[in-house]
């Protein structure tokens, strides 16, 4: 009788464990994949690359504006 109850208990806890673990994993993965995702930016391996590109573009604009200033300054 006790063995039977114990087995049921373990079965139940195992199922609970699985459910909890699954839920935890789902929430965790959902959290990390959708909300706190590490989704890469387009055309770059990581966000750092994208940020460097944006800074490069800023530098390009400054140089372009500087050249325009010098070319048309009379």
């Amino acid at each position: 009788m006790m063995q039977c109850l114990n087995n049921k208990f373990y079965e139940k806890t195992n199922i609970h464990y699985v459910i909890i673990a699954f839920t935890h994993y789902s929430i965790h993965s959902l959290y990390h994949s959708q909300i706190m995702n590490h989704q890469k930016p387009p055309f770059f391996k990581n966000w750092r690359g994208f940020y460097i590109f944006v800074l490069g573009f800023l530098a390009f604009l400054v140089v372009l504006f500087y050249l325009l200033t010098n070319i048309y300054n009379q």
């Binding site: 909300i35 706190m36 989704q39 944006v54 400054v62 504006f65 200033t69 048309y72």
Partner: protein
Amino acid sequence: MSIVDWIIMLGTLGFIVAYGTWKTRKNANLQDYLRGGNEMKWTTIGLSVMATQASAITFISTPGQAYESGMGFVQNYFGLPIALIIVSAVFIPIYYRLKVYTAYEYLETRFGVASRMLAAFLFLVQRGLAAGITIYAPAIILSTALGWNLSLTILLIGVLVIIYTVSGGTKAVSLTQKWQMGVIMSGMFIAFFIIIYKLPHFVSFGDAISVAGIMGKLDIVDFSLDIDKRYTFWTGITGGTFLALSYFGTDQSQVQRYLSGSSVYESRMGLMFNAILKIPMQFFILLVGVMVFVFFQYQEHAVLFNQNSIDKVYETEYADEMKSIEADYSKTYQEKKVALTTIVQHYETNEKATEEAIKAAQEKETEALKIRDKAKELVNKAVPDNKSKDSDYVFLSFIMNYLPMGLIGLLLAVIFSAAMSSTSGELNALATTTTIDFYKRLNKKEHSEQHYVNTSKIFTAGWGVVAIAFALFAHLVENLIEAVNILGSIFYGVILGIFLIAFFLKNVKGKATFSAAIIGQSVVIILFFFGQQIGSYLLGREIQEIAYLWYNVIGCSLVVLIALLISPFENKA
């Protein structure tokens, strides 16, 4: 204004308001109402962030500024991409992790409720005033230029914004802003091509650029370290970074825009969209102003663009003086036009004639500027209650007098759309902060989601009424716009300092930060009143003023440094 223009203007505005209200009429809970259900894609976020920042004044005043001072103003935005990268890399992940509705909620988790309330309160004061100005500033210009009733213009903008912002909350704000940006950019592109088209047949686009350069309008970048200059590369890259960091990282009207994203990715992409496009967009608006300048080099115009102010002078004893100024301006204009025509026609054939013509054109331009200044002084003397800036009327004057029927309505829709998009973002943020940081935080009773949604709607409408009331009575306060701008600059740096400590200096606690904020704020206020004297004493020469962008740097640096100095004592205690 023709009936076609009225139909186009009211039809465009009516469609956007009806679309925003209908599409977002169902809001089940607070998350839907204040964070747009976290469904926004990066394109919507990007356009929404851009539309919130770009007010009607951006599209009325910026071309006028380029007309008068050239394109140097674009340097003000050099710090913006740097700030957006910091917000994207540091601020956004933390806001998402804590699932906050407002930026100020985060401060409570770090420093306690006092810091949260202080920052939220400063935001409400500053943004509440700014919302009134966002409506008032374009309304006063439109009513003066078009002869509309000022109060009705204010009510038209205010009531339309309240309808869809109350109804649909954040989602309505973001969706309408997307359409409004579409109208704004289409209108500006069409205006640009019309200006080019309307230049004399012998002036190509290349010639127009050369003429602008000769007249000193293409001095875009200035690397000088002159503290008296308001816009240089250095003020833009330092002060501009601090200002943009404070605005995009801690001002709820912007934070709310990117927190409506469905993920960190969408929010980051929305900000990077702005980091890449904001400077080219601002450059383009300034270029429109420069092209209007070139257009008016070949098109005779009045000495001042605000015809209303000239008419008022003619009703006073100064009428003869104004007549003489107008005659002088007309003569100078004709001489300048001859010189500029010579330049364009002999640019590649006769070097000597070109050089002489350039010299003559530049001299005549200096002369014309002096005459315009004289006319402005006369207006101030004859009509003392006239507080308008003539450069604000340059672009509007071009729209009303030289655009074909139909396009006038579209361009006026551009100005109204810009006023509405920034006001809706502000009202939405003000209501969110009032609901989340004050009402919900201080109310100990548990309420249903619907209760909080309804409360937010009441606060949105309430702030809308406050903004309209402030706009209606704004003309009673002298130099009001300047006062609001200064107020913003004085507080932004200190608020940013508090946030930077919260994000980066984990060992610094609440009391040290709070004390540093109070000391830093006091020093900034002292500098505001006595900065000129202190600066002149320290540099050993007379300086004109401390450019307002520097207050952001000073306030922020002071808060961080003082907090670091006080912190060890607090930790010991």
